[in-house]
Protein backbone atom coordinates (compact mmCIF):
# COMPACT_ATOMS: atom_id res chain seq x y z
CA UNK A 1 0.00 0.00 0.00
CA UNK A 2 1.31 3.45 -0.90
CA UNK A 3 1.14 6.24 1.65
CA UNK A 4 1.34 9.85 0.39
CA UNK A 5 3.86 11.83 2.38
CA UNK A 6 6.30 14.66 1.97
CA UNK A 7 9.30 12.71 3.12
CA UNK A 8 10.64 10.36 0.47
CA UNK A 9 12.28 8.04 2.95
CA UNK A 10 10.86 7.55 6.42
CA UNK A 11 12.72 5.28 8.82
CA UNK A 12 11.17 4.43 12.12
CA UNK A 13 12.88 2.29 14.74
CA UNK A 14 14.64 0.28 12.05
CA UNK A 15 16.77 -2.52 13.46
CA UNK A 16 18.89 -5.23 11.90
CA UNK A 17 20.77 -7.89 13.80
CA UNK A 18 23.31 -10.35 12.48
CA UNK A 19 23.37 -12.93 15.23
CA UNK A 20 24.45 -11.09 18.37
CA UNK A 21 25.63 -8.07 16.43
CA UNK A 22 23.17 -5.22 16.16
CA UNK A 23 24.24 -3.57 12.90
CA UNK A 24 21.40 -1.05 12.84
CA UNK A 25 19.88 -0.14 16.17
CA UNK A 26 16.42 1.47 16.19
CA UNK A 27 17.29 4.29 13.86
CA UNK A 28 14.90 7.12 13.04
CA UNK A 29 15.37 9.24 9.93
CA UNK A 30 13.25 11.33 7.59
CA UNK A 31 14.62 12.17 4.17
CA UNK A 32 12.69 15.00 2.49
CA UNK A 33 11.75 14.65 -1.17
CA UNK A 34 14.36 16.13 -3.50
CA UNK A 35 17.01 16.38 -0.82
CA UNK A 36 20.52 15.02 -0.79
CA UNK A 37 20.89 13.26 2.50
CA UNK A 38 24.28 12.21 3.76
CA UNK A 39 24.74 9.36 6.19
CA UNK A 40 28.14 9.77 7.77
CA UNK A 41 29.98 7.31 9.88
CA UNK A 42 33.16 5.31 10.30
CA UNK A 43 33.60 1.86 8.78
CA UNK A 44 31.29 -0.70 10.35
CA UNK A 45 28.93 1.97 11.67
CA UNK A 46 25.88 0.50 9.93
CA UNK A 47 25.73 2.72 6.84
CA UNK A 48 25.76 -0.05 4.24
CA UNK A 49 23.32 -2.16 6.23
CA UNK A 50 20.94 0.81 6.29
CA UNK A 51 21.11 1.07 2.49
CA UNK A 52 20.64 -2.69 2.12
CA UNK A 53 17.56 -2.48 4.30
CA UNK A 54 16.17 0.44 2.31
CA UNK A 55 16.64 -1.30 -1.03
CA UNK A 56 14.95 -4.44 0.39
CA UNK A 57 18.04 -6.65 0.19
CA UNK A 58 17.77 -7.30 3.90
CA UNK A 59 14.70 -7.67 6.06
CA UNK A 60 14.63 -5.69 9.29
CA UNK A 61 14.31 -7.45 12.63
CA UNK A 62 12.30 -4.58 14.01
CA UNK A 63 10.90 -1.20 13.02
CA UNK A 64 9.78 -0.05 9.61
CA UNK A 65 10.74 2.12 6.68
CA UNK A 66 9.03 3.48 3.61
CA UNK A 67 10.67 4.56 0.38
CA UNK A 68 8.55 6.76 -1.88
CA UNK A 69 5.60 5.79 0.29
CA UNK A 70 6.13 2.05 -0.16
CA UNK A 71 6.86 -0.12 2.84
CA UNK A 72 10.15 -1.98 2.44
CA UNK A 73 8.73 -5.22 3.84
CA UNK A 74 5.20 -5.18 2.39
CA UNK A 75 5.99 -3.74 -1.08
CA UNK A 76 9.60 -4.67 -1.86
CA UNK A 77 9.14 -4.87 -5.64
CA UNK A 78 7.58 -1.39 -5.77
CA UNK A 79 10.44 -0.06 -3.64
CA UNK A 80 13.00 -1.56 -6.01
CA UNK A 81 11.18 -0.13 -9.03
CA UNK A 82 11.58 3.44 -7.81
CA UNK A 83 15.04 2.99 -6.32
CA UNK A 84 18.45 3.12 -7.94
CA UNK A 85 21.32 1.66 -5.98
CA UNK A 86 25.05 2.00 -6.18
CA UNK A 87 26.35 -0.76 -3.90
CA UNK A 88 29.50 -0.51 -1.83
CA UNK A 89 32.51 -0.95 -4.12
CA UNK A 90 30.16 -0.53 -7.06
CA UNK A 91 33.06 -0.79 -9.49
CA UNK A 92 33.42 -4.47 -8.56
CA UNK A 93 29.76 -5.27 -9.14
CA UNK A 94 29.71 -5.15 -12.94
CA UNK A 95 29.70 -8.07 -15.35
CA UNK A 96 33.38 -7.83 -16.16
CA UNK A 97 33.26 -9.68 -19.48
CA UNK A 98 30.23 -7.83 -20.81
CA UNK A 99 30.75 -4.50 -22.54
CA UNK A 100 29.86 -1.25 -20.79
CA UNK A 101 26.86 -0.91 -23.12
CA UNK A 102 25.67 -4.49 -22.54
CA UNK A 103 25.93 -4.09 -18.78
CA UNK A 104 23.56 -1.15 -18.97
CA UNK A 105 21.31 -2.73 -21.59
CA UNK A 106 20.75 -5.78 -19.37
CA UNK A 107 19.80 -3.71 -16.36
CA UNK A 108 17.67 -1.28 -18.37
CA UNK A 109 15.51 -4.25 -19.38
CA UNK A 110 15.38 -5.59 -15.85
CA UNK A 111 14.28 -2.14 -14.67
CA UNK A 112 11.54 -2.03 -17.34
CA UNK A 113 12.95 0.94 -19.23
CA UNK A 114 10.76 1.12 -22.36
CA UNK A 115 12.40 -0.67 -25.31
CA UNK A 116 12.43 2.47 -27.52
CA UNK A 117 14.18 4.53 -24.83
CA UNK A 118 16.90 2.11 -23.80
CA UNK A 119 19.57 3.05 -26.33
CA UNK A 120 18.92 6.78 -25.98
CA UNK A 121 19.11 6.61 -22.19
CA UNK A 122 22.32 4.56 -22.25
CA UNK A 123 23.92 6.98 -24.72
CA UNK A 124 22.86 9.95 -22.61
CA UNK A 125 24.36 8.52 -19.42
CA UNK A 126 27.54 7.17 -20.99
CA UNK A 127 28.12 10.47 -22.76
CA UNK A 128 27.59 12.42 -19.56
CA UNK A 129 30.07 10.18 -17.77
CA UNK A 130 32.59 10.43 -20.64
CA UNK A 131 32.28 6.71 -21.29
CA UNK A 132 30.55 6.68 -24.67
CA UNK A 133 33.84 6.09 -26.50
CA UNK A 134 34.41 3.03 -24.30
CA UNK A 135 30.92 1.61 -24.68
CA UNK A 136 32.11 -1.55 -26.46
CA UNK A 137 34.95 -2.27 -24.03
CA UNK A 138 34.41 -5.06 -21.52
CA UNK A 139 33.73 -3.56 -18.09
CA UNK A 140 36.69 -5.48 -16.71
CA UNK A 141 39.05 -3.56 -19.00
CA UNK A 142 37.95 -0.15 -17.74
CA UNK A 143 39.85 1.70 -15.03
CA UNK A 144 38.52 1.64 -11.47
CA UNK A 145 37.15 5.15 -11.82
CA UNK A 146 35.44 4.38 -15.12
CA UNK A 147 33.91 1.24 -13.67
CA UNK A 148 32.59 3.25 -10.75
CA UNK A 149 31.04 5.73 -13.18
CA UNK A 150 29.53 2.87 -15.14
CA UNK A 151 28.04 1.45 -11.94
CA UNK A 152 26.61 4.87 -11.23
CA UNK A 153 25.07 4.95 -14.73
CA UNK A 154 23.44 1.63 -13.91
CA UNK A 155 21.91 3.09 -10.75
CA UNK A 156 20.47 6.02 -12.69
CA UNK A 157 19.26 4.12 -15.79
CA UNK A 158 15.58 4.02 -14.95
CA UNK A 159 15.44 7.58 -13.63
CA UNK A 160 14.67 6.41 -10.11
CA UNK A 161 12.77 8.54 -7.63
CA UNK A 162 15.23 7.67 -4.87
CA UNK A 163 18.91 6.98 -5.42
CA UNK A 164 20.84 5.14 -2.74
CA UNK A 165 24.57 5.59 -3.10
CA UNK A 166 27.06 3.72 -0.96
CA UNK A 167 30.36 5.59 -1.03
CA UNK A 168 29.81 6.93 -4.58
CA UNK A 169 33.16 8.63 -5.03
CA UNK A 170 35.29 6.18 -3.06
CA UNK A 171 37.24 4.93 -6.06
CA UNK A 172 37.29 8.12 -8.09
CA UNK A 173 40.04 10.64 -8.74
CA UNK A 174 39.28 14.21 -7.62
CA UNK A 175 38.12 15.32 -11.08
CA UNK A 176 35.76 12.36 -11.49
CA UNK A 177 34.54 12.74 -7.92
CA UNK A 178 33.73 16.39 -8.57
CA UNK A 179 31.86 15.42 -11.71
CA UNK A 180 29.81 12.85 -9.83
CA UNK A 181 28.97 15.40 -7.14
CA UNK A 182 27.90 17.85 -9.82
CA UNK A 183 25.78 15.17 -11.46
CA UNK A 184 24.04 14.38 -8.19
CA UNK A 185 23.40 18.06 -7.50
CA UNK A 186 22.04 18.67 -11.00
CA UNK A 187 19.80 15.58 -10.95
CA UNK A 188 18.44 16.52 -7.56
CA UNK A 189 17.68 20.01 -8.83
CA UNK A 190 16.38 19.09 -12.29
CA UNK A 191 14.28 16.01 -11.57
CA UNK A 192 13.71 16.48 -7.84
CA UNK A 193 15.31 13.09 -7.30
CA UNK A 194 16.14 12.21 -3.72
CA UNK A 195 19.65 11.03 -2.96
CA UNK A 196 20.68 9.09 0.11
CA UNK A 197 24.45 9.05 0.22
CA UNK A 198 26.62 6.95 2.52
CA UNK A 199 30.03 8.35 3.04
CA UNK A 200 32.88 8.73 5.43
CA UNK A 201 34.18 11.60 3.33
CA UNK A 202 33.18 14.65 5.31
CA UNK A 203 34.27 17.16 2.73
CA UNK A 204 32.12 15.46 0.13
CA UNK A 205 29.06 15.43 2.33
CA UNK A 206 29.61 19.04 3.28
CA UNK A 207 29.77 20.08 -0.38
CA UNK A 208 26.87 18.04 -1.58
CA UNK A 209 24.31 17.26 1.08
CA UNK A 210 21.66 19.53 2.47
CA UNK A 211 20.91 17.22 5.37
CA UNK A 212 23.12 14.78 7.24
CA UNK A 213 22.99 12.16 9.92
CA UNK A 214 25.92 10.72 11.81
CA UNK A 215 25.77 7.03 12.60
CA UNK A 216 28.06 4.93 14.74
CA UNK A 217 27.66 1.41 16.12
CA UNK A 218 24.27 1.23 14.46
CA UNK A 219 22.86 4.28 16.23
CA UNK A 220 22.08 7.69 14.82
CA UNK A 221 24.08 10.07 16.98
CA UNK A 222 22.96 13.26 15.36
CA UNK A 223 20.90 14.42 12.41
CA UNK A 224 19.71 17.62 10.85
CA UNK A 225 20.19 20.13 8.08
CA UNK A 226 23.75 20.99 7.18
CA UNK A 227 23.14 24.66 8.02
CA UNK A 228 21.51 23.73 11.29
CA UNK A 229 24.51 21.66 12.23
CA UNK A 230 26.84 24.43 11.25
CA UNK A 231 24.95 26.74 13.60
CA UNK A 232 25.35 24.16 16.29
CA UNK A 233 29.06 24.24 15.63
CA UNK A 234 29.05 27.92 16.33
CA UNK A 235 28.31 27.15 19.98
CA UNK A 236 32.02 26.42 20.11
CA UNK A 237 34.65 28.13 18.02
CA UNK A 238 38.27 27.45 17.25
CA UNK A 239 40.72 30.33 17.37
CA UNK A 240 44.28 30.43 16.11
CA UNK A 241 46.53 32.51 18.34
CA UNK A 242 49.98 33.22 16.89
CA UNK A 243 52.50 34.50 19.40
CA UNK A 244 56.07 35.88 19.12
CA UNK A 245 57.39 33.81 22.00
CA UNK A 246 56.15 32.19 25.23
CA UNK A 247 54.14 29.66 23.25
CA UNK A 248 54.13 27.21 26.14
CA UNK A 249 53.02 29.88 28.58
CA UNK A 250 50.21 30.93 26.24
CA UNK A 251 49.06 27.32 26.07
CA UNK A 252 49.07 27.00 29.87
CA UNK A 253 47.09 30.21 30.30
CA UNK A 254 44.51 29.04 27.78
CA UNK A 255 44.20 25.64 29.45
CA UNK A 256 43.56 27.29 32.81
CA UNK A 257 40.42 28.99 31.47
CA UNK A 258 37.11 27.25 32.23
CA UNK A 259 35.60 28.10 28.85
CA UNK A 260 38.49 26.62 26.85
CA UNK A 261 37.68 23.02 26.01
CA UNK A 262 40.85 22.13 24.10
CA UNK A 263 44.27 23.51 23.27
CA UNK A 264 46.40 22.28 20.39
CA UNK A 265 49.98 23.47 20.04
CA UNK A 266 51.61 24.14 16.66
CA UNK A 267 55.01 25.62 15.67
CA UNK A 268 54.27 29.27 16.34
CA UNK A 269 50.66 29.21 17.47
CA UNK A 270 48.04 27.51 19.57
CA UNK A 271 44.57 26.48 18.43
CA UNK A 272 42.02 26.85 21.19
CA UNK A 273 38.42 25.75 21.24
CA UNK A 274 36.28 28.21 23.16
CA UNK A 275 32.78 27.48 24.42
CA UNK A 276 30.32 30.32 24.01
CA UNK A 277 32.97 32.41 22.22
CA UNK A 278 31.25 35.82 22.27
CA UNK A 279 32.89 37.60 25.17
CA UNK A 280 35.07 34.70 26.20
CA UNK A 281 37.47 35.25 23.32
CA UNK A 282 38.24 38.79 24.50
CA UNK A 283 38.67 37.53 28.09
CA UNK A 284 41.27 35.07 26.86
CA UNK A 285 43.04 37.70 24.80
CA UNK A 286 43.23 40.09 27.78
CA UNK A 287 44.61 37.36 30.03
CA UNK A 288 47.33 36.54 27.55
CA UNK A 289 48.31 40.18 27.04
CA UNK A 290 48.26 40.93 30.75
CA UNK A 291 50.70 38.06 31.37
CA UNK A 292 53.16 39.33 28.79
CA UNK A 293 52.32 37.13 25.82
CA UNK A 294 52.88 39.04 22.58
CA UNK A 295 50.09 38.17 20.18
CA UNK A 296 50.60 38.57 16.43
CA UNK A 297 47.32 37.07 15.34
CA UNK A 298 44.08 36.14 17.07
CA UNK A 299 41.82 34.76 14.34
CA UNK A 300 38.77 32.55 14.01
CA UNK A 301 39.48 29.16 12.51
CA UNK A 302 36.91 27.89 10.06
CA UNK A 303 34.99 25.16 11.80
CA UNK A 304 33.92 22.31 9.59
CA UNK A 305 31.58 19.41 9.86
CA UNK A 306 34.68 17.39 10.51
CA UNK A 307 34.99 19.02 13.92
CA UNK A 308 31.40 18.17 14.69
CA UNK A 309 31.77 14.68 13.29
CA UNK A 310 34.85 13.91 15.36
CA UNK A 311 33.25 15.45 18.39
CA UNK A 312 30.10 13.36 17.97
CA UNK A 313 31.92 10.12 17.19
CA UNK A 314 34.24 10.57 20.18
CA UNK A 315 31.56 11.69 22.60
CA UNK A 316 28.55 9.82 21.30
CA UNK A 317 26.67 13.13 21.65
CA UNK A 318 22.96 13.34 20.96
Amino acid sequence: MMVIQLDEVVISGLTKNFGDLCAVDHIELNVPKGSIYGLLGPNGAGKSTTIRLLCTLLKPNDGSATVGGFDIVESPVEVREITGVLPEEGNHTLYQTLSAYDNLDYFARLYDVPEDKISKRIEELLTFMDLWERKDDPAGELSTGNRQRLALCRALLHEPQVVLLDEPTAALDPVAAKRVRELILSLSEKYNQTFFVNSHNLAEVQRMCDRIAIIDEGKILLSGGTQELRQRLQATQNFRIRVVEKLEKAGSIAESMDFVSSVKREADSIIVTIDDPIGNNSTLMQSLLSQGVKIIEFAEEETTLEDLYLDVIKGGAK
Binding site: F18, R52, C55, T56, L57, L58, K59, P76, V77, R80, E81, T83, V85, P87, E89, H92, T93, L94, Y95, Q96, T97, L98, Y106, F107, R109, L110, Y111, D112, A151, R154
Partner: protein
Protein backbone atom coordinates in the same frame (compact mmCIF):
# COMPACT_ATOMS: atom_id res chain seq x y z
CA UNK B 1 6.35 -10.34 -18.47
CA UNK B 2 7.55 -12.61 -15.69
CA UNK B 3 8.91 -15.16 -18.13
CA UNK B 4 10.46 -12.40 -20.24
CA UNK B 5 12.60 -11.31 -17.29
CA UNK B 6 13.48 -14.87 -16.36
CA UNK B 7 14.55 -15.48 -19.96
CA UNK B 8 16.61 -12.30 -19.86
CA UNK B 9 18.43 -13.53 -16.75
CA UNK B 10 18.86 -16.97 -18.33
CA UNK B 11 20.27 -15.51 -21.54
CA UNK B 12 22.76 -13.34 -19.68
CA UNK B 13 23.80 -16.18 -17.37
CA UNK B 14 24.42 -18.44 -20.34
CA UNK B 15 26.31 -15.71 -22.13
CA UNK B 16 28.47 -15.13 -19.07
CA UNK B 17 29.04 -18.86 -18.59
CA UNK B 18 30.16 -19.22 -22.21
CA UNK B 19 32.76 -16.51 -21.67
CA UNK B 20 34.51 -18.86 -19.25
CA UNK B 21 36.82 -21.07 -21.31
CA UNK B 22 36.40 -24.28 -19.34
CA UNK B 23 32.63 -23.94 -19.49
CA UNK B 24 32.60 -23.20 -23.21
CA UNK B 25 34.96 -25.99 -24.18
CA UNK B 26 33.49 -28.26 -21.52
CA UNK B 27 30.07 -27.89 -23.09
CA UNK B 28 31.34 -28.56 -26.59
CA UNK B 29 33.33 -31.56 -25.37
CA UNK B 30 30.52 -32.99 -23.29
CA UNK B 31 27.99 -32.44 -26.06
CA UNK B 32 30.18 -34.24 -28.56
CA UNK B 33 31.56 -37.02 -26.35
CA UNK B 34 28.34 -38.98 -25.74
CA UNK B 35 27.20 -39.29 -29.36
CA UNK B 36 30.76 -39.87 -30.62
CA UNK B 37 31.28 -42.78 -28.21
CA UNK B 38 27.92 -44.37 -28.97
CA UNK B 39 28.25 -43.92 -32.72
CA UNK B 40 31.80 -45.30 -32.66
CA UNK B 41 30.71 -48.42 -30.77
CA UNK B 42 27.71 -48.93 -33.06
CA UNK B 43 29.88 -48.41 -36.13
CA UNK B 44 32.53 -50.82 -34.90
CA UNK B 45 29.98 -53.53 -34.10
CA UNK B 46 28.07 -53.13 -37.35
CA UNK B 47 31.22 -53.22 -39.44
CA UNK B 48 32.49 -56.27 -37.54
CA UNK B 49 29.28 -58.32 -37.74
CA UNK B 50 26.03 -56.64 -38.85
CA UNK B 51 23.79 -59.54 -37.79
CA UNK B 52 25.28 -59.79 -34.32
CA UNK B 53 25.12 -56.00 -34.06
CA UNK B 54 21.40 -55.95 -34.81
CA UNK B 55 20.84 -58.60 -32.14
CA UNK B 56 23.05 -56.95 -29.54
CA UNK B 57 22.31 -53.25 -30.17
CA UNK B 58 19.15 -53.08 -27.96
CA UNK B 59 21.16 -54.36 -24.99
CA UNK B 60 24.04 -52.05 -25.76
CA UNK B 61 21.61 -49.18 -26.08
CA UNK B 62 20.09 -50.00 -22.67
CA UNK B 63 23.50 -49.87 -21.02
CA UNK B 64 24.85 -46.88 -22.93
CA UNK B 65 21.82 -44.56 -22.98
CA UNK B 66 22.31 -43.40 -19.37
CA UNK B 67 25.64 -42.03 -20.52
CA UNK B 68 23.82 -39.50 -22.69
CA UNK B 69 21.82 -38.59 -19.58
CA UNK B 70 25.02 -37.97 -17.66
CA UNK B 71 26.30 -35.80 -20.45
CA UNK B 72 23.15 -33.69 -20.19
CA UNK B 73 23.59 -33.18 -16.46
CA UNK B 74 27.18 -32.02 -16.63
CA UNK B 75 26.47 -28.81 -18.59
CA UNK B 76 23.64 -28.04 -16.17
CA UNK B 77 26.09 -28.30 -13.27
CA UNK B 78 28.66 -26.16 -15.09
CA UNK B 79 26.23 -23.40 -16.03
CA UNK B 80 24.32 -23.29 -12.77
CA UNK B 81 27.57 -23.20 -10.78
CA UNK B 82 28.53 -20.11 -12.75
CA UNK B 83 25.06 -18.60 -12.60
CA UNK B 84 24.68 -19.00 -8.85
CA UNK B 85 28.06 -19.25 -7.16
CA UNK B 86 29.82 -17.31 -9.94
CA UNK B 87 27.40 -14.44 -9.49
CA UNK B 88 28.30 -14.28 -5.79
CA UNK B 89 32.00 -14.76 -6.51
CA UNK B 90 32.01 -11.84 -8.96
CA UNK B 91 29.86 -9.58 -6.73
CA UNK B 92 27.19 -9.19 -9.41
CA UNK B 93 24.44 -10.73 -7.32
CA UNK B 94 23.68 -7.63 -5.27
CA UNK B 95 22.89 -5.30 -8.20
CA UNK B 96 20.71 -8.02 -9.67
CA UNK B 97 18.81 -8.32 -6.40
CA UNK B 98 18.34 -4.55 -6.36
CA UNK B 99 16.25 -4.71 -9.54
CA UNK B 100 12.47 -5.22 -9.45
CA UNK B 101 12.96 -8.90 -10.26
CA UNK B 102 10.96 -11.07 -7.89
CA UNK B 103 12.65 -14.00 -6.18
CA UNK B 104 10.56 -16.34 -8.33
CA UNK B 105 11.58 -14.65 -11.60
CA UNK B 106 15.20 -14.83 -10.58
CA UNK B 107 14.90 -18.47 -9.56
CA UNK B 108 13.22 -19.32 -12.87
CA UNK B 109 15.94 -17.44 -14.73
CA UNK B 110 18.65 -19.41 -12.98
CA UNK B 111 16.85 -22.66 -13.70
CA UNK B 112 16.26 -21.84 -17.36
CA UNK B 113 19.86 -20.78 -17.92
CA UNK B 114 20.87 -24.36 -17.16
CA UNK B 115 17.80 -26.22 -18.32
CA UNK B 116 17.49 -24.85 -21.87
CA UNK B 117 21.06 -25.54 -23.06
CA UNK B 118 21.33 -28.84 -21.18
CA UNK B 119 18.01 -30.16 -22.46
CA UNK B 120 18.89 -28.86 -25.92
CA UNK B 121 22.20 -30.73 -25.81
CA UNK B 122 20.42 -33.88 -24.64
CA UNK B 123 17.89 -33.73 -27.47
CA UNK B 124 20.66 -32.96 -29.94
CA UNK B 125 22.74 -35.90 -28.69
CA UNK B 126 19.79 -38.28 -28.98
CA UNK B 127 18.95 -37.06 -32.47
CA UNK B 128 22.52 -37.24 -33.76
CA UNK B 129 23.01 -40.73 -32.28
CA UNK B 130 19.72 -42.04 -33.71
CA UNK B 131 20.37 -40.62 -37.18
CA UNK B 132 23.98 -41.79 -37.28
CA UNK B 133 22.99 -45.30 -36.15
CA UNK B 134 20.27 -45.52 -38.81
CA UNK B 135 22.69 -44.35 -41.50
CA UNK B 136 25.31 -46.90 -40.41
CA UNK B 137 22.77 -49.75 -40.34
CA UNK B 138 21.26 -48.77 -43.71
CA UNK B 139 24.71 -48.49 -45.27
CA UNK B 140 25.32 -52.21 -44.64
CA UNK B 141 21.74 -53.20 -45.47
CA UNK B 142 20.91 -54.18 -41.90
CA UNK B 143 17.47 -53.63 -40.37
CA UNK B 144 16.95 -50.41 -38.41
CA UNK B 145 17.44 -50.54 -34.64
CA UNK B 146 16.92 -47.44 -32.50
CA UNK B 147 19.94 -46.41 -30.43
CA UNK B 148 18.93 -45.23 -27.86
CA UNK B 149 16.01 -47.67 -27.93
CA UNK B 150 12.60 -47.08 -26.41
CA UNK B 151 13.63 -47.79 -22.77
CA UNK B 152 16.60 -45.46 -23.24
CA UNK B 153 14.44 -42.75 -24.80
CA UNK B 154 12.02 -43.07 -21.89
CA UNK B 155 14.88 -42.68 -19.43
CA UNK B 156 16.49 -39.75 -21.20
CA UNK B 157 13.29 -37.82 -21.85
CA UNK B 158 11.93 -38.22 -18.32
CA UNK B 159 14.84 -38.64 -15.90
CA UNK B 160 17.08 -36.35 -18.00
CA UNK B 161 15.13 -33.09 -17.58
CA UNK B 162 14.14 -34.08 -14.04
CA UNK B 163 17.78 -34.47 -13.09
CA UNK B 164 18.62 -31.10 -14.62
CA UNK B 165 16.05 -29.52 -12.27
CA UNK B 166 17.52 -31.50 -9.37
CA UNK B 167 21.04 -30.33 -10.23
CA UNK B 168 20.03 -26.66 -10.28
CA UNK B 169 18.12 -27.12 -7.02
CA UNK B 170 21.11 -28.76 -5.36
CA UNK B 171 23.23 -25.88 -6.65
CA UNK B 172 20.87 -23.34 -5.07
CA UNK B 173 21.04 -25.20 -1.77
CA UNK B 174 24.82 -25.39 -1.72
CA UNK B 175 25.50 -21.99 -3.27
CA UNK B 176 25.59 -20.32 0.14
CA UNK B 177 27.95 -22.90 1.55
CA UNK B 178 30.66 -22.99 -1.09
CA UNK B 179 32.93 -20.13 -1.99
CA UNK B 180 34.18 -21.10 -5.44
CA UNK B 181 32.52 -22.16 -8.66
CA UNK B 182 34.53 -25.36 -9.00
CA UNK B 183 33.57 -26.48 -5.47
CA UNK B 184 29.92 -26.01 -6.34
CA UNK B 185 30.40 -27.85 -9.62
CA UNK B 186 32.06 -30.80 -7.94
CA UNK B 187 29.48 -31.03 -5.16
CA UNK B 188 26.41 -30.83 -7.36
CA UNK B 189 28.06 -33.04 -9.96
CA UNK B 190 27.81 -35.90 -7.46
CA UNK B 191 24.13 -36.11 -8.44
CA UNK B 192 25.35 -37.61 -11.68
CA UNK B 193 25.69 -40.92 -9.84
CA UNK B 194 21.92 -41.40 -10.13
CA UNK B 195 22.50 -42.33 -13.76
CA UNK B 196 24.84 -45.07 -12.69
CA UNK B 197 21.78 -47.06 -11.58
CA UNK B 198 20.41 -47.78 -15.08
CA UNK B 199 23.94 -48.23 -16.35
CA UNK B 200 24.90 -50.85 -13.78
CA UNK B 201 21.77 -52.71 -12.69
CA UNK B 202 20.86 -54.32 -16.05
CA UNK B 203 24.34 -55.87 -16.17
CA UNK B 204 23.18 -58.29 -13.47
CA UNK B 205 20.45 -59.54 -15.83
CA UNK B 206 22.83 -60.43 -18.62
CA UNK B 207 21.79 -63.68 -20.26
CA UNK B 208 24.08 -66.30 -21.70
CA UNK B 209 23.67 -64.81 -25.16
CA UNK B 210 25.06 -61.49 -23.94
CA UNK B 211 21.71 -59.71 -24.11
CA UNK B 212 20.09 -58.03 -21.12
CA UNK B 213 16.56 -58.70 -19.92
CA UNK B 214 14.57 -55.79 -21.39
CA UNK B 215 11.87 -56.05 -18.72
CA UNK B 216 14.54 -55.40 -16.10
CA UNK B 217 15.79 -52.48 -18.14
CA UNK B 218 12.32 -50.93 -18.18
CA UNK B 219 11.89 -51.48 -14.43
CA UNK B 220 15.33 -50.01 -13.72
CA UNK B 221 14.67 -46.98 -15.91
CA UNK B 222 11.30 -46.34 -14.27
CA UNK B 223 12.89 -46.63 -10.81
CA UNK B 224 15.66 -44.26 -11.89
CA UNK B 225 13.07 -41.77 -13.10
CA UNK B 226 11.16 -42.02 -9.82
CA UNK B 227 14.34 -41.49 -7.79
CA UNK B 228 15.19 -38.49 -9.98
CA UNK B 229 11.65 -37.18 -9.56
CA UNK B 230 11.75 -37.45 -5.77
CA UNK B 231 15.20 -35.88 -5.65
CA UNK B 232 14.09 -33.02 -7.90
CA UNK B 233 10.85 -32.45 -5.98
CA UNK B 234 12.54 -32.40 -2.57
CA UNK B 235 15.50 -30.27 -3.60
CA UNK B 236 13.32 -27.87 -5.62
CA UNK B 237 10.94 -27.40 -2.67
CA UNK B 238 13.90 -26.70 -0.39
CA UNK B 239 15.47 -24.40 -2.97
CA UNK B 240 12.31 -22.30 -3.23
CA UNK B 241 12.33 -21.85 0.53
CA UNK B 242 16.03 -21.09 0.58
CA UNK B 243 16.06 -18.74 -2.42
CA UNK B 244 15.32 -15.32 -0.96
CA UNK B 245 17.20 -12.07 -0.78
CA UNK B 246 17.78 -12.08 2.94
CA UNK B 247 19.48 -15.47 3.04
CA UNK B 248 21.42 -14.85 -0.16
CA UNK B 249 22.86 -11.56 1.10
CA UNK B 250 23.35 -12.58 4.71
CA UNK B 251 25.23 -15.77 3.78
Amino acid sequence: MALYKSMLVAKTDLRMALKVSYVKYGLIGIAALGPIMMIAIVGFMVLADPLYAVFFLPSLSALMSPMLGMMAIMPAALISANALVGEREQNTLEPLLNTPLTDRELLMGKLLSSFIPSFGLLLGSILVTEIATIIILLSVGAPIVLVPGLPGLFLLLTAGPTMIIAIVSVMILISGKVKRVYEAYQTSGASILIFMIPMMLPIFTLEGSGAVDMNSVWVTNIITFLIALILAAVTWALAIRRFNRDTMISM
